[in-house]
């Protein structure tokens, strides 16, 4: 595969951006409504790009942060804007060049911009309290750094809860060399979640009233339906398990469509952002999840999407029908609409409480059909840190340990389970994990490779097979309402509410295969294990049961060591874990062709590992990218020295 007319396409769309941007701002002042674009919004069609000027090897971009009154979904709002818009303008950089970005703070509070996924000198990383003091009101801060990577990224505030208020935008770095795939046209598809509430009120409600935003809880009616469907005994056993744990199987997202308006490129479904195409063109969609709290399931009904990049990094193309995108992750997909009709880009919140939607069409003003909404999925056994979602198994084999000693004796059957199920990933009976196995053939794991030929891969051995994990002497204390005693490899599991079938392929982490091995091929010489912990009752979130204020000092990485970071999800929530300043090479089934990511999403009861080479010295943030989890203390500093 070769890149052919990338440049032409790029040029085309860029001219469109500029034309739109200019005419719109003039017309908006005059009319402001009726299909014309107000100055504060992205154009209805296309992306809005930030102006930049070149000075030798350096590109210069000016950004101002304001609070700008504007309608969102037709209602009055006062978001924080970058150069007057939500999202902020697309910043387009070039690999190999340097950049100077001057950020002026017109707010009456401190602000900052973090360049999500970009490796740079740590003082330029933009995290107040970690890498710099923040940008004071009225002040201008100049970020300058060399750009030595390419792909789709984004930027956002790292101050307080500003991200929830609109302070984010897309960042693209065009590669120095041609890309290994071709396309005729491209669009940024930036997903976000907007609330008309003050985010501090949202946070407080989460703290004082558990489940405040969840209007899809289990009711008595659900219980009766379950009894009818599964029988009394099975239903009671399941309910007993959830009841003993005091966990809700319907708690998928903490903040839901009951307060959120889901946006795509700053527009609600009613405002219908539109990407234009000519039938037969290859359209690259750069999908960025810039939301504060929402995992989305993205599809374009009627079109296959070929995933070509994950977190800005090239991967072996995977044709899929749908993919789940964690907060802060990015996926680049190519679609080929051949018909002259409108297609819907549909991004459903993971808990089905709402959606963002936009249109791909051959002319403006059209809109595709909104697909039928799916019911809210319910968590099952797989979220408890045991076997792959097999709900028919005997409930007495639950592998969950409680934070307290009120769990009945037969609940410790995790080991028995693992051997019974002869699941190679459970690994308890693997005597040190010495067996070599091809992931695609392993029992209990469907081949989700979507037609990829994996024959040339090395035999696969999950590095965490048979690993004895530790929850400390007190199961992480009061900050952890549960621990997963037998966390699983869930990289072939598309996640709750999604099922990958022959007719409907859903992307999984095991599909991500790098095009080439990464430069550092050393085996890890050191391992660090961290647990994702939480207590929903008080909305406490942390690593290893201790929030940021309760730990003593940073996590220390040695400069240029080869490290294996092991993450264990001891909670019932999905968490997107983001490490600043260095790549995490996800140890999935592709051996040395493992993909590298800046954000790893962990499902409940899941354990993943990543190889890391900390190339850049300094202090780096490491946190859950769910905004309120981070702010609650699920945050650490990684110090590379």
């Amino acid at each position: 595969m070769k890149s052919n007319n990338t440049l032409t396409a790029d040029g085309l769309s860029r001219r469109r951006f500029l034309r739109n941007a200019t005419s719109m701002s003039v017309l908006a002042a005059l009319y402001g409504v009726g299909g014309l674009q107000p100055a504060f919004a992205w154009p209805r069609s296309g992306n809005l790009e930030a102006e930049k000027e070149a000075d030798g090897d350096t590109d210069i971009v000016n950004l101002t942060i304001d609070r700008t009154p504007m309608p969102i979904d037709g209602k009055d709002a006062r978001p924080i804007t970058v150069n007057g818009t939500v999202p902020g303008p697309l910043i387009r950089l070039k690999e190999g060049r340097d950049v100077r970005i001057r950020v002026t703070n017109n707010l009456d509070e401190d602000t900052s911009i973090h360049w999500h996924g970009i490796l740079l000198p740590f003082e330029m990383d933009g995290v107040p309290g970690v890498t710099f003091p923040g940008i004071k009101p009225g002040e201008t801060f100049e970020y300058h750094y060399p750009v030595r990577q390419s792909g789709t990224y984004w930027y956002h505030s790292h101050s307080g809860l500003q991200e929830q208020e609109g302070h984010y935008g897309p960042l693209i770095v065009d590669p120095a060399d041609p890309e290994p795939f071709a396309y005729d046209r491209e669009y940024v598809v930036m997903l976000s979640d907007w609330t008309f509430e003050d985010p501090h009120d949202v946070f407080r409600k989460l703290k004082v009233a558990e489940g405040y935003y969840n209007y899809q809880k289990r009711t008595v009616q659900d219980l009766l339906e379950d009894i009818k469907r599964k029988g009394w005994e099975q239903t009671m056993r399941e309910r007993a398990m959830w009841g003993e744990m005091r966990m809700s199987s319907r708690d998928l997202l903490d903040v839901t469509g009951s307060t959120y308006t889901y946006l795509l490129n700053g527009r609600s479904p009613a405002d219908n952002w539109t990407g234009l195409f000519q039938p037969g063109e290859k359209v690259r969609l750069r999908v960025i999840n810039g939301s504060a709290m929402s995992f989305f399931d993205v599809r374009v009904p009627g079109l296959k999407m070929t995933v070509v990049q994950a977190d800005g990094q090239n991967i072996e193309p995977v044709p899929v029908d749908e993919f789940r995108i964690g907060v802060a992750e990015t996926y680049d997909v190519i679609v080929e609409p051949t018909e002259d009709r409108a297609y819907t880009i549909f991004a459903e919140a993971m808990d089905r409480s709402g959606y963002a939607a936009a249109t791909l069409a051959t002319r403006e003003g059209e809109r595709g059909e909104i697909p039928e909404r799916r019911p809210m999925p319910e968590r099952g056994m797989e979220s408890m840190g045991m076997d792959h979602g097999d709900m028919d198994m005997d409930m007495d084999h639950g592998a969950m340990d409680m934070g307290q000693n009120d769990m009945s004796g037969d609940m410790n059957g995790g080991k028995e389970m693992a051997s019974d199920a002869s699941d190679p990933h459970a690994g308890h009976d693997m005597s040190g994990g010495g067996q070599a196995m091809n992931g695609a053939d392993s029992a209990g794991m469907k081949d989700d490779s979507g037609g990829m030929d994996m024959a040339d891969d090395e035999p696969y051995e999950w590095p965490l097979a048979g690993r004895k994990i530790s929850h400390g002497h007190d199961d992480h204390g009061p900050g952890a309402a549960m621990v997963a005693s037998n966390p699983q490899n869930r990289m072939s599991d598309p996640g709750i509410g999604l099922e990958s079938t022959e007719d409907h392929k859903v992307l999984v982490y095991d599909d991500l295969r790098a095009l080439a091995p990464w430069p550092d091929e050393r085996e890890p010489e050191r391992e660090i294990e961290l647990h994702l912990t939480g207590n929903m009752e008080r909305y406490m979130w942390s690593f290893d049961g201790k929030k940021f204020s309760e730990v003593d000092g940073p996590i220390r990485f040695h400069h240029n060591e080869r490290l294996r970071l092991i993450l264990v999800n001891d909670t019932m929530m999905d968490h997107p874990i983001h490490l600043h300043g260095m790549w995490m090479e996800l140890e999935n089934r592709h051996g040395k062709y493992r993909p590298r990511k800046h954000t790893l999403s962990l499902k409940p009861g899941e354990m993943v590992s990543a190889q890391i080479t900390p190339e850049h010295k300094g202090d780096w943030a490491f946190h859950c990218h769910l905004l309120y989890h981070m702010d609650a203390g699920m945050f650490r500093v990684v110090s590379v020295a």
Binding site: V130, H158, Y215, Q221, Q404
Partner: protein, 262 residues
Amino acid sequence: MTMQKTIKHPTRWLVTACALALAPGLAWADGRGDYAREQGWDSPVPDMKTGVLLFDRLEYAAGDDEDSVDWEFKGWYGGDTNRLVVKGEGEHVVSGGDGGEIEALDLLYGRLIAPYWSVQAGVGYQLEYGPGPNHDRGFAVVGLEGLAPYWFEIDTSLRVSEDGDASVDFEAEYDFLLTQRLVLQPRFGTSFAFQEVEEFGVGQGVNHVKAGLRLRYEIKREFAPYIGVRWKKQLGDTADLARAEGHDTDDLRFVAGVRMWF
């Protein structure tokens, strides 16, 4: 008033309890990096302190002989682990009689000791007023509050009065979601006294059992009107004391009220 006297003994208890509870968590730093420490920057994710005031019951209770306005509230302020807690419960007779009672008005320090449980310690106050002379007393209170398996909200406390009379209270409640906003809440409560305290109508042993059933509609999470019934039956020596005073030992009332929080 007797508050002066009331406070005296319990204060010692409170101070001791607080000191014990605080001791393990006194001296930690935080997760800041070396660079941020050198520069003296604030934490990137400072702990949030917040609070809430919940009127769990604010209701008109209509009985056979008398009607009353009953109230119960709980408030807290603090962080995730340590909180200042206030709780109160009482009734005020509005027809068919006079007077009323502040059954409890507690000021407590609460500390999270397990994922779903906090211990609470502090001082409490009780007042019976009208038609006769007022009676009041103070307590030292130690309690355990939390969420038991199967989502039972539990609140239990040991109370020792300024005169050395001890009693144990227990209260449990449960929410059945009929729909996402319509909630049926059964409640159960009881109280056990180690000594008889005639002045407050308290007999030795189990004093009473209380049960309630309330159906609320959450217009917002913060505001939910409800209707229901509450029933209280006095038992044993307590019942004898009530009968001697000419009171019913069996009290069934229909209630209508609002559950709200700020």
